[in-house]
Symmetry: D2
Subunit: 135 residues, 4 copies
């Protein structure tokens, strides 16, 4: 499990006074970016140096409690599944009291940057995300 | 079915060159806002005049083809379910050739603005969203 | 002058109930993208086919009246200046009653995509933006 | 001077590969929110407990070097001016090598939440932002 901490910003909220739902997806992706950076395959490396990419093909989230500007959030990132050409991360969002306020899941596939076709998950990426288990 | 048309903007994309996944949720919500406006319960009315609100408690999306800046998109909005205290919309995103490029689903509950507790779907809202069938 | 019409979306607003200031910059850029598309040098062309790019080096905006979700906005785009290696657009935002609610200005320079150095404004781009005068 | 540290996220970038210009305004506002929180008048307090608000009436930014996903940024926040009904913050963005990559400026006015009219800067807010000098 990898943990990431952040704060709800004013621009994450909307005129209903709470987190706009799509911004929870930005927050969990921020956590995922931070994890990839930590295990050596951050987006600067992915975008500039790799011949594969990891597009999200499915995303989902549940919203259990409204979040307000200034709320301090911990995101727990879990590696839920590693397949031949895909992997799945799940996320739990906790408020400052440790209460579960949201969950999410993203499914990623590996594609060749040039052909845009699905390819087997490269060994370096497979090794990197499996480091999750030792964090 | 309600249809909504838009264009992928530069700020919808990211450094991987395609639509950032969370922005598909913004686009379907834009379509939903446009539908609510059309049937008389748009967000200006919801925020200023109603004692209930309609928070999203679940959202999910599939991404079938990458979308690029300038792509013209049609969003088809469908009312999938109306329950006692909730309703569900589904969305299909088509590119300019009519190809299905993404889908999404949002589940909304009705809550009292003051108590934040779940309440039965108010009659005006129930009637409004059911107009979907005649559009 | 080129005119562009849009609506303030829920995700453009924040918990203070009004347009979050940075989103006015997104809206004027949407208008600019729409103009470039109209004159034949839209972002799909710029990103895929040109060896130059047009980064913004200065941006500014004034906010004269708060904007709310659902507000219908007209953006007037003006070509204010064309120099050797740069050009400037100004923008006026009007609400549905024709009242001026905001203004903005963006200064763009032409850079070589590979070297990232400033280059003279290419002839095709110069011609394209000057079509503004005949719109 | 107050300093705030952050990282450029994938959703801050666009298909041109660099920070989308409006997101620099989000980043400096994040820094401003962090400062207000530090001096006791954070947005949770402003939105829930105060009878005034601090809308931005002018914003501007310069972009000196392109920023990429993963770039670590320090934002220096300076209190540039405190007037009778307004105040001005300036911002300097530095990359991880200490190079100045951007600047910004925001002008805020104090308005009454109910009447939306300009009011003198309240004493608590005046005192809070002046704490800048001792940070």
């Amino acid at each position: 499990m990898y943990t990431y901490k952040t704060v709800i910003k004013l621009h994450d909220t909307d005129a209903a006074g709470i987190l706009f739902f799509s911004h929870q997806f930005e927050i969990i992706h921020d956590a995922y970016e931070s994890f990839l950076e930590k295990v050596g395959v951050g987006f600067p490396v992915l975008i500039r140096k790799k011949n594969y990419f990891l597009p999200i093909v499915h995303a989902e989230a549940d919203y259990k409690s409204p979040l307000f500007v200034g709320d301090r959030i911990t995101v727990e990132v879990h590696l839920a599944h590693v397949g031949t050409t895909s992997f799945t991360f799940t996320y739990r969002l906790l408020n400052s009291k440790g209460k579960l306020v949201g969950t999410a899941r993203t499914v990623h596939v590996t594609t060749d940057k040039k052909t845009k076709k699905k390819i087997p998950l490269p060994a370096d990426m497979r090794q990197a995300i499996k480091k999750m288990r030792n964090i």
